[in-house]
Amino acid sequence: MKIVVAIKQVPARDSQLRIAASGRWIQEDDFTFEINEPDAYALEAGLQLKEKHTGEVVVMCLGPARASQTIREALAKGADRAIHIEEEDLTGLDPLAAARLMAAALKAEAPDLVLTGLQSDDLGYGQTGPILAELLGLPHATIIMEVEKQDSGIRVKRELEDGWFQHVEMPLPALLSIQSGISKLRYATLMGIKKAKTKEVKRLTAADLGGASGPSITIDRVYLPERTKRTQLFEGNPQEAAAKLVEKLKFEARVL
């Protein structure tokens, strides 16, 4: 099975965010970056499928030059080769423009399965998977917990809301967005890290892929959420404070 896993590099989760002078993005200068955690689960799912059914795992990453570190880490974990669509500034790309570049890069690959994470930790649109599926003309399913290969395609377990699940069958090729937290993520071995250095990374630019399309949505401004509430605090001994609070809840907030 030939599997492509789309991965993204994002600021580390504990980054202290500040707004850039432009007001349109955050100040990224002194950040450390890492693989988008939901994508790490997609990669893990891809590697497990390859181990079970043989084949190839190709990671595809749209990102600036610094993303090559994240790509190397994916190769060290066991991906066979990589496609790096190198773009220094992603802020002008909306999810459709980004997915169009990825779809163009995949034209020559003809994978059996494309895997994505559920959403990115930075923009969080949660749309790259289904958009890519539509652009590539593939059937898809999202929030996938398990993938089972069948004679004529795959059978997946999809998470629904409120603790419901559903199995869905579909032919290959197909695209799946993988649920986070479904497996234990592997670490790269020393041997893996060594091997990664010699694995192929194909570099493409937007121009190689026909250029980026104009956005259909734009971010005007980013900002830290305003603090809007003023808390009424009740003091005194616990009994008095409780009595005042209950009175407010009943007669002012009227929630009881």
Binding site: P95, T142, I217, L233, P238
Partner: protein
């Protein structure tokens, strides 16, 4: 019709989306309609709307992305809305990006607010798991798509009315649908729908040990509230995962959310900040939970909670 609200079911988040659609229509000086997909009831929609469609077909009885996208494209071609709004459910997340892409558009997903500026809609959504907000605008022609976060709008703000459903039967062929869905199933006991709860009492690390959980359970029972928890409580197994509120748990928007011994990490706040009234009980006056709280008591929860139980009982 300028705004079309695509409802997933008759209650809950779909009503919130209807309320949002009505509000936007008032602010934009335009009309709002609704569509229910795959339903089989002819009951009118209990809201003041220009029009309501019931999108019906044998192939829509079970959800598939191919079926829904094809049906909605046909409805959009007929109704020609400028904006199409959806509740941000798992199902919408599955098909809306595909629908928008098929029309060369990007949906603005997980919207928490909006405003109208010079006759154009500006949508607010969160980046970096709620740490940053962004104002987003549509570029280009109609239709434009957005999905609204649970609890961002209030179902009780729906302008009441009664709008009869007009049947719309799209042209669908079985061969167009590539995925084959199975029956829905559950693996464990029925999950709790905290999203539907009117009152929630939530407990965090401040409760110290599992043996103290009954104290907050008693508080919840006294006012008929659902018991919820922050992630550490569920990770420790003191309460089941289905009671977790936050970015990795459920998103709630009750009338009242009482946070007991919860410091208010952002991952928790994103799940409950849509609550109408937030009450915080915490021994640390600097805990971030007080930044979103309307009412608070700074004190030892092991003294405050028993006192509250007693006071609540008096009001019954």
């Amino acid at each position: 019709m300028s705004i079309l609200v695509v409802m997933e079911q008759r209650g809950g988040m779909s009503l919130e989306t209807l309320a949002a659609g009505q509000q936007m229509a008032r602010e934009l000086g335009t009309t709002v309609g609704a569509a229910l997909v795959g339903g089989d009831s002819a009951e009118p929609i209990p809201a003041a709307l220009e029009k309501a469609y019931s999108v019906e077909h044998e192939l829509l009885k079970q959800y598939t992305p191919d079926g829904y996208v094809s049906a909605l494209r046909q409805l959009i071609a007929l109704a020609r809305p400028t904006y199409v709004l959806f509740p941000h459910t798992y199902q919408v997340r599955d098909f809306l990006p595909k629908l928008a892409t098929s029309l060369g558009k990007v949906a603005v997903s997980d919207v928490i607010h909006h405003r109208v500026e010079n006759g154009a809609l500006v949508l607010v959504r969160q980046l970096f798991q709620g740490k940053v907000s962004a104002d987003v605008r549509f570029q280009g022609d109609a239709p434009n798509f957005a999905s609204l976060q649970a609890g961002a709008y209030r179902a009780d703000q729906v302008a009441a009315g009664s709008t009869a459903l007009e049947k719309f039967v799209p042209a669908l062929a079985a061969g167009d649908i590539r995925t084959k869905p199975g029956e829905r199933f559950r693996e464990s006991a029925r999950a709790v729908d905290l999203g539907a709860a009117e009152l929630i009492v939530a407990v965090g690390r401040g409760i110290k040990e599992a043996d103290n959980i009954p104290l907050v359970q008693q508080l919840a029972d006294t006012i008929g509230a659902e018991l919820a928890a922050s992630r550490p409580i569920c990770d420790a197994g003191w309460l089941p995962m289905e009671r977790q509120v936050g970015s990795s748990g459920q998103t709630v928007g009750p009338k009242m959310y009482m946070a007991v011994g919860i410091s208010g990490a952002i991952q928790h706040l994103v799940g409950m900040k849509a609550s109408r009234v937030v009450v915080a009980i915490n021994k640390d006056a600097n805990a971030p939970i007080f930044e979103v709280a309307d009412y608070g008591i700074v004190g030892d929860l092991f003294q405050v909670v028993p006192a509250l139980i007693e006071e609540f009982k008096k009001t019954r």
